[in-house]
């Protein structure tokens, strides 16, 4: 049976309003509620379902980030993952950590843990890179099935339905492979109380990129982070004539 690796990133919760730091070098994260990247939850759910169907023997979740990343690993463990690996990256290192680094870390762990299948979210909702799955596949020289909305796992191969522009594409690829989860792949479960309690006893191993021999020196420099432009408030006009005049003034109609 297959061994699965899932990537889980700790991001600012989607229900929280994002604020840019006064120095415009990033966003405020202190005291801000974080949670698991929603697409990664979908990845975890898919792995757990495979395990429930006895297609998978063990699921390992990896999170790269500061100490608090262990919280999302706990969530993954409570959803049904067997063990967690926390790759500690903090401070300025974390601010410039990019998919290129994360994919090398995932690839290394996949080799060490004899992984057959890597599932990650198609993108993280904080930096929206949409690169980790693709780069990981490249580093390992494995096939990739990105934007998956349906996955059927056979013994030696996968049948994956992909969300593409204007429709769906169904592909087959050999295992080992890398999958990236799209929104419609599944609806992730809530971690239930008995499982949250059990998860407390599951193991989380802490390592560093150096332990894996991965160089995380920055490849980019953040120049500035800006708020999107504020939308101007609408106005209510008293009648159609005024509207027409206004539209003409604005050059919207001749």
């Amino acid at each position: 049976m297959a061994r699965v690796l899932v990537g889980v990133k700790r991001v600012i919760d989607y229900a929280v309003k994002i604020r840019v730091k006064p120095d415009k070098k990033g966003v405020i994260t202190d005291g801000v509620k974080h949670s698991m990247n929603p697409f990664d939850e979908i990845a975890v759910e898919e792995a757990v379902r495979m395990k429930e169907k006895k297609l998978v023997s063990e699921i390992i979740a990896v999170s790269c980030g500061p100490t608090q990343s262990q919280e999302v690993l706990r969530t993954a463990l409570a959803m049904g993952v067997d063990k967690g690996i926390h790759v500690e990256v903090s401070g300025p290192d974390y601010e410039t950590l990019q998919p290129i680094h994360v994919s090398k870390i995932l690839a290394k762990i996949a080799q060490q843990e004899h992984i057959d299948l890597i599932i990650v979210g198609k993108q993280a909702i904080d930096d929206d890179s949409n690169q980790t799955a693709q780069m990981t596949a490249a580093v390992l020289d494995w096939p990739q099935a990105t934007f998956a909305s349906k996955v059927e796992k056979g013994d030696k191969e996968l049948t994956v339905t992909r969300e593409i522009d204007g429709g769906l594409e169904t592909i087959k690829c050999k295992i080992p492979a890398v999958i990236s989860a799209d929104l419609r792949l599944n609806e992730p479960r809530y971690a239930t109380l008995p499982n949250i309690m059990k998860a407390k006893k599951k193991p989380i191993t802490k390592i560093t990129p150096q332990d894996l021999g991965v160089d995380i020196s920055p490849r980019i420099k953040i120049i500035s982070v800006d708020d999107p432009p504020v939308r101007q408030a609408g106005v209510i006009l008293p009648d159609v004539d005024t509207l027409v005049t206004k539209l003409k003034e604005g050059g919207h109609i001749p």
């Binding site: 919760d13 989607y14 229900a15 929280v16 005291g31 509620k33 974080h34 949670s35 929603p38 909702i125 929104l183 609806e187 479960r189 809530y190 971690a191 239930t192 109380l193 008995p194 949250i196 309690m197 209510i236 008293p238």
Partner: protein
């Protein structure tokens, strides 16, 4: 991100659903026994006065513009007012009321029109005084926690503005995106945080209101303590627009908690709910900020109609418990011990707990959107009852037995921590005979159990004939005397609250 998308989508479908529906029957036709009072009928001259006062844009008199102001949130009543006024200042409210008093025009004050007892819409053709444009925040003091604002501010917007200063509103309810603080004060709204912060009679420090004759009553004290003379503000808290129009309020706002968690439980019996509640009070103590229950039918309705997802498998009863405090570690430790205890002792069969804002929102939706979901069933008979806690759920089995297949769904949910249950009976279409089977039976039962026939929604239009089930004759007589003194011509929200 995507959950807000889903939410917007389902709201849209609700709007579509209702715009394709036929309008509810006019109140005057559905309740033919209620006769229009001897009020003036709106004339062109009256309208002209209002237009001169407010300008063309703040007077609506086109029937289609007035329609939504004439129908209540749950589509149970419909008036036929042809005039909606939107004042922006207390002085304008004062001029409108003194004009209406002088010309014997009846007036219906309206806030967000989310009231659930038919109090916020006209019964006949009363002029609608809408507070929607009185929506300015006047001041927020982050040291004393005192908020001063106009009556038309939307509850959720106040919550956001206060959040910026580390404060919060002492009340929260499912209608927060639409209801307005003047409406909340006028109905003494309870809601989801009452168990922790108490009700508005305690949290409102001051009120500015306009009497029926246009006189402005300034009780806008920002002081926490002010024992000079009678506490007039209480006359306007919970009097549902019958004693005056609230124009400004002062609210004492608690500190916004920095640590927040939410648990959702599945339970096998109502007794286990009571035991869990008792344990929560004891073991969570001061961090317990909400304690709600819902039954299987209530959860089913949001799953069926709004396609919301339950965190756990099916159980006959569910609870939502919120904790909030100022120290995450402390709160978590307490909460974990409590969770292990109630699970270990078999009180709670399954559940989930989270401190992630997105997940907490999704769990709250299961509780807060029940009313919205129930409306897809058709017509809703809605009751808001306080009962001694041991009898909290006792009405539901009795109503199921009494109504049998007449009802599509009979469900109960509510503020278990405050002994306040919402009994909901849905049917495909309004039926007089079903109404007769429910009322006054449900009120008689409540009275026998020494409960209240209106716990938090008020009396409005729907309950005046039943207030004697919860109030003595002498009390009702004193209420009538007060009304006569404050509004001798009975122009403010007639046909509401007091039995005639």
């Amino acid at each position: 991100m995507f959950s807000s998308l889903n939410r917007a989508r389902s709201l849209l479908s609700l709007i579509r659903y209702y715009s394709s529906e036929v309008l509810p029957q006019l109140t005057k036709d559905r309740y033919p026994n209620i006769k229009r009072g001897n009020y003036a009928v709106l004339t062109q001259d009256h309208l002209q006065y209002f237009v001169d006062l407010l300008g063309r844009n703040r007077v609506l008199n086109d029937p289609s513009d007035c329609e939504t102001y004439n129908i209540d949130f749950i589509k149970s009543v419909r008036g036929y007012s042809q005039c909606v006024l939107k004042p922006q200042t207390t002085e304008e409210v004062s001029k409108i009321l003194s004009f209406c008093d002088e010309h014997r025009l009846a007036v219906c004050p309206q806030g967000g029109n989310t009231g659930l007892v038919g109090g916020s819409v006209p019964v006949f053709d009363e002029v609608i005084l809408s507070t929607t444009l009185m929506n300015k925040i006047i001041s927020i003091d982050d040291i004393s926690g005192v908020l001063v604002c106009e009556a038309g501010c939307i509850l959720e917007e106040l919550e956001h503005a206060l959040g910026e200063q580390g404060l919060m509103m002492p009340l929260d309810l499912g209608a927060k995106g639409s209801c307005r603080i003047g409406g909340n004060v006028s109905t003494n709204a309870g809601g989801l945080r009452l168990i922790r912060y108490g009700n508005l009679h305690g949290n409102v420090l001051g009120v500015e209101a306009v009497k029926a004759n246009g006189q402005i009553i300034d009780c806008l004290s920002t002081l926490k303590k002010d024992n000079t003379g009678y506490h007039l503000k209480h006359l306007f808290i919970g009097s549902e627009g019958t004693l005056g129009v609230v124009t400004k309020v002062v609210i004492h706002c608690p500190q916004k908690p920095t640590s927040l968690s939410l648990a959702f439980f599945g339970l096998e019996s109502f007794d286990n709910i009571l035991s869990t509640f008792k344990r929560a009070k004891k073991e969570l103590g001061e961090i317990l900020s909400s304690c709600e229950m819902l039954d299987a039918q209530s959860l089913n309705v949001v799953k069926t109609h709004l396609k919301l997802k339950s965190p756990i498998d099916d159980y006959p009863y569910y609870m939502v418990i919120e904790t909030s405090g100022s120290n995450e570690q402390h709160d978590e430790e307490k909460l974990n011990r409590f969770l292990e205890g109630v699970m270990g002792d078999g009180l709670v069969m399954d559940g989930t707990v989270t401190n992630e804002p997105g997940k907490m929102r999704s769990i709250w939706d299961l509780r807060e959107r029940i009313t919205e979901a129930l409306m897809y069933d058709g017509y809703l008979y809605k009751y808001d009852i306080s009962l001694p806690i041991k009898d909290f759920y006792s009405l539901i089995p009795k109503m199921i037995e009494r109504l049998g297949s007449d009802a599509t769904r009979i469900s109960g949910y509510g503020h278990i921590g405050d002994g306040n249950i919402h009994l909901n009976i849905s049917v495909p279409k309004f039926r007089q005979d079903v109404l007769k089977k429910i009322e006054p039976y449900v009120y008689e039962l409540t009275s026998q159990l020494k409960g209240s026939v209106s716990a938090e929604h008020g009396v409005g239009f729907r309950k005046p004939p039943y207030i004697h089930y919860s109030k003595s004759q002498n009390s009702i007589d004193l209420m009538k005397d007060l009304k006569k003194m404050m509004d001798p011509n009975n122009i403010l929200n007639p046909y509401k609250v007091l039995p005639f």
